[in-house]
Symmetry: C2
Amino acid sequence: MMVGMTSDLFAQHREKLDAALTAIRERGYWSAYPESPSPRVWGETAAADGRAAFDAYRNGDFPLDGTDRVATETSPFGIDMGITYPRLDADTLISNAQAALPAWREAGPQARTGVVLEILDRLARNTFELAYSVQFTTGQAFVMAFQAGTAHAFERALEAVAYSYAEMTRHPETAAWEKPAGKGDPLRMTKTFHVVPRGLALVIGCNTFPTWNSYPGLFASLVTGNPVIVKPHPRAVAPLAITVREARAVLAEAGFDPNLVQLAPEASGEKLASVLATRPEVKIVDFTGSTEYGDWLEANARQASVYTEKAGVNTIIIDSADDFAGMCRNIAFTLSLYSGQMCTTSQNIFIPRGGIETGDGHKSFDEVASGIAGSVAKLTGDPARAVELIGAIVNDGVTSRLDLARKVGEVVLDSVAHAHPEFPDAVVRTPLIVKLDAADEDTYGTEWFGPISFLVATDSTAQSVELFAKTVDAKGALTASVYSNDEEVLRVVEEAAIEVGTHLSINLTGGVFVNQSAAYSDFHASGANRAANSALTDGAYVANRFRIVQSRRHV
Amino acid sequence: MMVGMTSDLFAQHREKLDAALTAIRERGYWSAYPESPSPRVWGETAAADGRAAFDAYRNGDFPLDGTDRVATETSPFGIDMGITYPRLDADTLISNAQAALPAWREAGPQARTGVVLEILDRLARNTFELAYSVQFTTGQAFVMAFQAGTAHAFERALEAVAYSYAEMTRHPETAAWEKPAGKGDPLRMTKTFHVVPRGLALVIGCNTFPTWNSYPGLFASLVTGNPVIVKPHPRAVAPLAITVREARAVLAEAGFDPNLVQLAPEASGEKLASVLATRPEVKIVDFTGSTEYGDWLEANARQASVYTEKAGVNTIIIDSADDFAGMCRNIAFTLSLYSGQMCTTSQNIFIPRGGIETGDGHKSFDEVASGIAGSVAKLTGDPARAVELIGAIVNDGVTSRLDLARKVGEVVLDSVAHAHPEFPDAVVRTPLIVKLDAADEDTYGTEWFGPISFLVATDSTAQSVELFAKTVDAKGALTASVYSNDEEVLRVVEEAAIEVGTHLSINLTGGVFVNQSAAYSDFHASGANRAANSALTDGAYVANRFRIVQSRRHV
C-alpha cells in the first residue's frame, strides 16, 4: 500500500475528524457539509452539471466493470431509468472481499480513517449528481434529496467514523507494563494491541433513504477494517452505485484493493441479501427496511452482528398547547414531508376527546383535528408548491395502503392526487388524516407506512400516555412527541418514553421537526424498542465491528 | 433512595475510579487490591478469621432469607459443605428484579457507580472468607483462590465498572444545541440524554472460577442499571452467595431494593439457567463454561445480548529457545497451576520433530519433551509442596478424561495421585503429558479440559503455525504462546494469531505465564474466535448493556 499517501490523507482530514470527535462528545450543533443547494454555495452551474451527470447514467451501463448486468430501477417521478449495473454472484463478492481484507487490516486505524474521510469528501464533490440520484430513485423532492440524501448522510457517515475512530484508539497501540516484584527486578513487558476487523460486512440498503440509512453502517464497518458488500434496494441502486464507484476510486488511488467496497445489485427475485447475510464469512449486517425482514435477519444471520432499523408506531401526544397554530403547522410539516414516507413520520396522534386547552382558549377534539388538517391542506393544496415538499410516492404499496386507510375511520382530510408540473408520470399523493377512537387499537396499533395518520380520541391524556406506552412496547417507535403546558404531564410522558425506549420531542412549534434528527447531537433510533436494535450512532453501534488482539513480550 | 448517601459513595470512591479509568486507557500496570494474603498486609488473625467465617456457613443455612432451601455443593478437597441456600422460582426472581429496576435506573450513572464500588470494597473487606469459599468449591489451592478468586476478581470487576462508567458518561447528561438559521434567530434546543438499562441481566457462574469469571458481567450489568440474577454453578455457590449477600446489604443501606442482585441457586437437574436465559424479560446473559452450553445460549437466548466464554485449544509453538531451562520452567508452571483446570491452560505444544536450537545447543524433540516433563515433575513431585500449586481436581469428569488421555499416545509424564497432607479426601492429580504426532489432529484438535497436555511432533515450525491456525480457527483458543529467537518466525506467528483472533505471549521464561492475564492491561479472550464471543473487558463488552434515550425541547 502507499503508506505515504494514506498518512497524508489522515493529516489532511485530521482537523475535520477532531471537530467531529468534539461534536459527538459534546453533542451540540456542528456541521461539516453545507445543507443548502444554493448556487451561492456551489456556483451557478453545479445543479445543472449534477443533473447532466445523473442523466448521463440513464439508459446505459453504469461505470462499474462487469458484463452480467441488471436493471431494476423505476422512478417514482415516472422518468425512465434504464441504468444497468454489473452483477456478481455471492461467491465472487465474498472471495473478492476476503482477498482485500488483510492489507486493509494491516493499514491500521489512522490510515483507514484517512482513506474513508477522503471517500466522504470525494462524495461531497459529487453532491448534486448524488442528490439527483436520490431524488429520482426515492421520490423525494430535490431539496430534501439534497439535504437528507447527501449533506445529512455525509454528516451521519462522519459521525459513525468519529465514533469508530474513538473506539479503535481508546487503547494505545503499544503499552509498557511494569509490575513490582518485591525486592527483585520488576516484571517488565511490552504489549501490542491490534485492531482486528470482524470479517466481511454487508449493508442492505432501503428504497426511501438509500444513502442516509446506509452510510453509517457502511463507513463504520469499512473504517474498522471490514470489507463491505453494498446490496442496494432494487429500486434505489444509483445512489449506492455512485457511492461505491467513488469509494473504489479513492481506495485504488491510495493503493488498496478497490474490492474493499463492492456493489451487489441483484436480478429480480434473486434474494441476494438473504444469501449473503447468512454466509459464514459475513460477520456484520446493517439493514434498514421492513420489520418482517429485519426480524428475519436477526433470527437467521446468527453468525453476524446484525444492526436493524425497522418500523414502529410513531406517536404524538397532544395534552395542551400554548401556541396552537405553531403546533398545527409543525405537525403538518412532519406529516407532509416526503408524503410521510419516513420511518420517523408520526402516525398516531392521541388527543383527549374532550379537547385541549390552548393559548387561544379551549379547543374541542374536532377543532384540534381541523387545525392540523387545515395546516396540512394549506401546505399541500397547491400542486406546484406541494410537490417540492411531498415529492412522489415511492411504490405502489403506499397507494394501495392509502386506499385501505380511507375506510378504517372517519376521513378528516382526504389524500388527493396532484399532477406534478414537471414530471407528468409522477405519482403524487397528499397526506390522509383519519379519525379513530382509542378502542380502534387493531388499526392504529400497527404501522401504516406512507402519508397516513390517525387522530385518536382518548378519554384523557392519561389514557393517551397509556396507549402510547402499550402500542410502542408492542411495536416499537423511532420517534415520539408531546405537546403540553403542564410540566407534570411532560414528566410523565418522558418517563413513559424512557420506559419504552423512544426519543421524545417536546412542544415543537418552530423549525425543528420530530421526524428529523441532527447528526452529532440527536440519536436516531435508540435500540431500546422493537423499531430498531441499535442507535445511529453511539458506542454500541461501532464497538462490535472490530476486536482487539494483543501480543506481549518481555522488554 | 438516599441521594445524599449515594453521592457520598461516589465521592468516596472517585479517586479509585479515576485511577482505573486511567489504567484502562493506558493499559500499563495498576492494582487497587492487594494480591498477597500475607499477615503483613492483613494482620495476624485475618486468615484464621476468614476461615472461621467460612466454616460457620458449613452444615447450615446460608444467611440469605428464604425457606425453600437447596444444598448442591461438594468440595474437591473432600470436606463436607452442607450449606443450604434459599431457592426462588424463575417468576419470583424476575418480578423481584423488575420491581427493583426503575429506581436504580433513575439514580443515574454516578450514584450507581458509587454503590457498586462500595460493594466491591465491602467484598474486599471479606477477602479471606471469600477466598476460602473459592478454595473449597473449586479445588484451587489457597493462595491461588486468594489471588484469582478475590484480588484479581475485584480488579476485573473494577475494570468492567470503569469501562461501563466511561461508556455511560461519554455523552453529557444534557447538551445545548444552537443551529444558525440565516438572518433569523438561531434554533435553540436543550437535549437530555438518559442512560437506560436493557432490562434484566443473568450471570451464569462456572465451577472453576465462580468469582473471577462472573464479576465482570455482574458488575458491568449492575452499574449500567440492570438488575442482576446470579445463577451459580451448583458446585460453586458459596462464593457467589457471599457476593450477593454483600451486594444486597450495600444496596439496602444506600436505599435501593436489595433485589437488584439476587442469588438463583437451583435444585439438581432444574435447568434454571436455561429457563431464565430464555425469558423475554432477560436482556443480558453472561456465561462461562462449556462450549456446548455456550453455543446453546447463543442460539437460544436470542432476546438477549449473550456474552460467552467457552473453551478452545490453547497452543504453544516452540521454534527455538535462548533460555531453554527458563522456557521449561515457565511452561511447567502453566501446566501445573490448578492442575491445568484453567480455560487458559495450554493444551497443545507444537515442537518440530527434528528438535530445536537453544542457548544450550541443539535439543532433540525428546530432549525438549523431557525438559518440560522434568520441570513439571520437579514442581509437582513432592505432595506437600505440589498441592499448594495444583490444588484438587474439580470434578469426576476431569479424572475420567485423564484416564482416557493416557491411552491416546505415548505418555511422556504420567499423572499421579497425591495424598493431600491436610485434606485426606481431596482428589489430587499431577499433570499428564502425552506425545502425539501432527497427524493426530482428531485427538489434539479438541479440548481436553484438565491436567492434560500434548507434545505434538511437527515437520517444522511452519507446520506448527499451520496446525495452530487450523485448530484454533476450528475450535477457538483463549491463549497462545510462542518461543523463538527468530524475529521472522515471531512475526509469522503473530500474523497467524491475529488471523485466528488469539492473544499471543512471546518467549515467556520468567514470572509471567500464558494462562494469566493482568487486569487493566491484558485482554482476556478476544471475542474473535470460537472460544469466546467477547473480551474481558473492552468497549464492546459494556456498550450494549444500556441504551441512550433522549428528549429535546426548545430553550
